[in-house]
């Protein structure tokens, strides 16, 4: 039983109207306002229902219609001093899009920001979904409780499916309290291999790191910056920052940034990949073992790079049209790359998603065939 349909006649009607539309037509484009769409697909745009809510701040759970704007979700949570812990990025600046990102789009893209390294990805905070499959059937999975192993976990499958399996109409999320304070430890001037070692060292301490990034020197001659964020109650934060400085002593002197606005700005810029907004060229997102990250970057020789998640996630800026995956293959790495920003022609030629495992590719195709047998949703979006 849908959580929202029971109490919101509007949601119920809108969802069933969409189901009728899906049964009758196609192909469709399922990507909300399209603000974070990276794959290519054509079709009649479908918008998930908006407005319906079921928020229980004392249980840290939120159920919301998938079309509700992310901004609205964040504002309502903030009014209860809560937030989405996985820090969803705003992709508009990077992709040059307008419109209001929806919460359903965040889930469909499994969009997670820098805090993912400490607390988990969007998919780890998804408790339940309702979606309409390609036959117009309404399907529910998971629920609104924190622990749930009842049946197969289609919630994780839907998170990151980029609208290729169904139109997500309702999502239930685990939310988190906003901590009292946040601060960033900064080391300047480290080389990239050393910086990743510093990040790994920090992540290997028990001080609950919730951000671990490294930026190259900027065009204006500023030194490279290795950034480590901690959050929590003030006393605890001051203690842990001191202990972290001690643990990182061998990497040189460090500064602590305590100013709330400065901290928010630094991590929002990393989250939204702001550094590449105005820069020409393609943008790739690479997932790699941190200990191999610096060597891989050296081999790939990008125009610029942002190390996030302690080096597990790399944003690479490359010459337009260059085939990063071909270079990666030559290194023998197990890392994989997603082409986030490029011309449609380049995306068509190189493919947006990385697919070099025939068995998982076959399984994914099999799942799409089951959930959307007539290929009504986002045809070709994920290859």
């Amino acid at each position: 039983m849908s959580i929202l349909a029971a109490r919101n006649a509007g949601y119920f009607e809108e969802r069933d109207r969409l189901a009728d539309q899906i049964r009758a037509g196609g192909p469709f484009l399922c990507c909300g306002q399209g603000t974070s769409r990276i794959g290519l697909a054509d079709g009649v745009a479908l918008s998930a229902p908006g407005e319906a809510w079921d928020y229980d701040p004392s249980a840290l759970t939120l159920t919301v219609a998938a079309g509700v704007p992310l901004e609205t979700v964040e504002a309502v949570l903030a009014s209860e001093n809560q937030r989405l812990a996985f820090e969803p990025p705003d992709m508009r600046g990077l992709l040059g899009r307008a419109g209001a990102p929806s919460i359903g789009g965040v889930l469909a893209g499994n969009l997670s920001g820098p805090r993912r390294v400490g607390v988990g990805a969007c998919r780890d905070f998804c408790l339940g979904v309702e979606f309409i499959d390609g036959r117009g059937q309404v399907v529910k999975n998971g629920g609104r409780v924190m622990k749930n192993v009842t049946g197969l976990d289609l919630v994780k499958l839907m998170a990151g499916s980029h609208g290729t399996l169904g139109l997500i109409t309702e999502v239930s999320l685990k939310v988190a309290p906003i901590p009292e304070m946040s601060a960033t430890l900064m080391i300047e001037g480290l080389g990239e291999a050393e910086a990743v070692q510093a990040l790994s060292t920090a992540l290997g301490t028990p001080f609950d790191v919730t951000g671990a990034a490294h930026l190259r020197e900027d065009g204006a001659g500023g030194a490279s910056r290795t950034l480590i964020r901690l959050e929590g109650f003030e006393n605890s934060l001051r203690y842990r920052m001191g202990a972290l400085q001690e643990a990182l002593k061998r990497f040189g002197d460090s500064d602590i940034l305590w100013d709330a606005t400065a901290n928010a700005g630094i991590w929002q810029a990393i989250r939204d990949v702001s550094r590449f907004h105005a820069a020409g060229g393609d943008v790739w997102r690479v997932s790699v073992k941190p200990s191999e990250a610096a060597a891989l970057v050296q081999a790939l020789d990008p125009l610029d790079v942002i190390y996030d998640w302690g080096g597990n996630r790399l944003w690479l800026l490359t010459e337009a049209g260059s085939d990063l995956r071909a270079k990666m293959a030559a290194t023998g790495t197990k890392a994989h790359a997603t082409l986030i920003r490029a011309s449609d022609a380049t995306k068509r030629r190189l493919g947006v998603f990385h697919s070099d495992n025939p068995v998982t590719a076959r399984l994914a195709a099999g799942l799409r065939q089951k959930f959307d047998p007539d290929q009504k949703f986002n045809r070709g979006m994920m290859g």
Binding site: I3, P57, S58, A59, T61, N110, R116, A121, R123, D124, Q137, V139, K140, N141, G143, R144, V145, M146, K147, N148, V149, T150, G151, L152, D153, L154, K156, L157, S161, P177, E180, Q197, S200, L203, G204, F233, N235, S236, Y239, R240, A243, S287, K289, P290, S291, N312, R313, K334, A335, S355, N357, T360, L363, G366, L367, Q369, K370, F371, M382, G383
Partner: protein, 478 residues
């Protein structure tokens, strides 16, 4: 418990099956003598037993693959088995099945501290994974109470949790990659040391799939640095409602305790009689544990006690030493044993929205009286994961059936208040027939469609998760 009729064709071909399996496995890895296969007739849900056709104990991914190829070729159902600690009958055999045990897959394959992961074969016990890294200051976070015995393969199959998952999450949040053998013997690598999937999140689908999609032989697990220290506080209240309200206030405060455990009066009494932990006489007890440096622990406990004091606690006992911490945990950790002393019991694990705690506890008490069974409640309150323990006498005819009927009522109640049938034990056979209470036909159809893709002949772990009448046509095709 209704189970499918064994396939006569499979039973008749046992000698051929044994011969083919012996050709790919060492002699002692194929167990076919009836008195020996009996050891695999049940898991920790001992009320249901059925000896399998035979059991195999492969020692490598290649051997698992060879076994599955043969079984697939001959149409033989396969029941994957970790350490056999499932409380839900997750590895209950059928008479025509091969038990595929992972007990010989016990190697640590790689430990990587800079990248914070460990790669293991999945027959390793949960606790031995932590054992492999703890001298270097790391641990593996999911901590099911069976962690001394349970295998990683079973943890992945059931997406196991534990007392500390409030902070660290359950198995799916700590699993980075698997090597899995498909029903037809094909080996697939899914995920790895990276934090993000390359395409669809198949790993999330596999974790918690109860052996329906494949046999996981190797796993890459996230390891975490050990906290500097941990200490609990014990708090007694004169009603479940007040204790429940206190839990909600703690959660909202921004504190992240690693555990919030709740015990009700029947459990407090039983554990006092059994373990003499020195618990106060009251209606509800909370144990809240926090982590950090000494000073951080003191600060957090002071905040928690401040919140509790607004709820007129009967008693607050802050641990000041390792010895006191152990005494506070003693009763909680002996709760199952204490109930076991009083009789046989069924342990359920439905989850509810935390706001429903007082209401659901009251209703469970009423249902217990109606059915004539004592029910104790000890559970992970921070995430609403209940553990009602229903006492019964297995030697008295009809008692098991009435305890099970009561259990079904309680689980339906969990679903009706917005929760679910199982928070960490899994569906197995135990809750299989209640699935239609939580899921509409289209919901179950979508889940079964996933199994169709991974295991088109429906040979893996038969008769679990999906009600038989719902999966009939698919199983007939196999």
């Amino acid at each position: 418990m209704e189970m499918p009729v064994p396939k006569p064709g499979v039973l008749a071909r046992k000698p051929e099956l044994v011969t083919r399996l012996r050709a790919v496995l060492p002699h002692d890895a194929v167990i076919d003598a009836p008195e020996e296969v009996k050891a695999y007739e049940c898991d920790a849900l001992t009320a249901y037993r059925c000896a399998p056709l035979l059991a195999v104990l492969p020692a490598s991914t290649e051997e698992v693959s060879a076994v599955l190829k043969i079984c697939h070729d001959m149409g033989v159902p396969v029941v994957p088995r970790g350490a056999g600690t499932s409380l839900a009958g997750g590895s209950l055999p059928t008479a025509d099945s091969v038990i595929l045990g992972v007990a010989r897959l016990r190697e640590v394959l790689e430990v990587n501290y800079p990248d914070r992961y460990i790669r293991v074969q999945t027959g390793m016990t949960n606790l031995s994974v932590t054992g492999a890294v703890e001298s270097d200051g790391f641990f593996y976070a999911p901590d099911p109470s069976s962690q001394l015995a349970c295998a990683i393969s079973g943890n992945i199959a059931m997406n196991s949790g534990g007392a500390h998952c409030l902070k660290y999450g359950v198995t799916t949040n700590n699993l980075l990659g698997v090597t899995m053998v498909m029903a037809d013997g094909e080996v697939v690598e899914i995920g790895g040391a990276e934090m993000e999937a390359a395409g669809l999140d198949l790993l999330g689908l596999i974790c918690g799939s109860e052996g329906q999609l494949g046999v996981v032989t190797e796993a890459t697990l996230r390891i975490l640095p050990k906290p500097e220290g941990a200490r609990p506080v014990l708090m007694g209240f004169d009603s479940n409602e007040v204790a429940g309200a206190c839990v909600a206030d703690i959660i909202r405060s921004g504190l992240i305790p690693v555990a919030i455990e709740f015990m009700d009066r029947p459990i407090i009494r039983a554990t006092e009689a059994f373990a003499k932990a020195g618990y106060p006489e009251c209606e509800a007890l909370l144990i809240v544990e926090v982590e950090g440096s000494e000073q951080e622990i003191a600060d957090q406990l002071a905040r928690i006690i401040g919140i509790a004091e607004r709820h007129n606690p009967v008693e607050i006992r802050e641990s000041q030493s390792a010895d006191e911490s152990a005494r506070i945990w003693l009763g909680r950790k002996s709760a199952f044993g204490a109930m076991g002393q009083m009789g046989d019991y069924i342990c359920l694990d439905g989850t509810i929205p935390v706001g429903e705690l007082p209401n659901v506890l009251k209703r469970i008490g009423e249902l217990g009286e109606e059915y004539g069974h004592m029910v104790g409640n000890v559970f992970h309150a921070g995430d609403g994961n209940m553990h009602p323990l229903i006492l019964f006498n297995a030697n008295e005819p009809g008692q098991l059936a009435s305890a099970e009927a009561l259990g079904a009522e309680i689980l339906k109640l969990c679903v009706d208040v917005g929760g679910c049938l199982t928070g960490e034990h899994g569906v197995g056979v135990e809750k299989r027939d209640l699935m239609t209470h939580q899921f509409a036909p289209a919901d179950l159809e979508a889940q079964m469609a996933v199994k169709d893709v991974f295991d088109p002949k429906w040979l893996l772990n038969p008769a679990k998760v999906f009600p038989l009448h719902v999966s009939d046509s698919r199983r007939a095709d196999g």
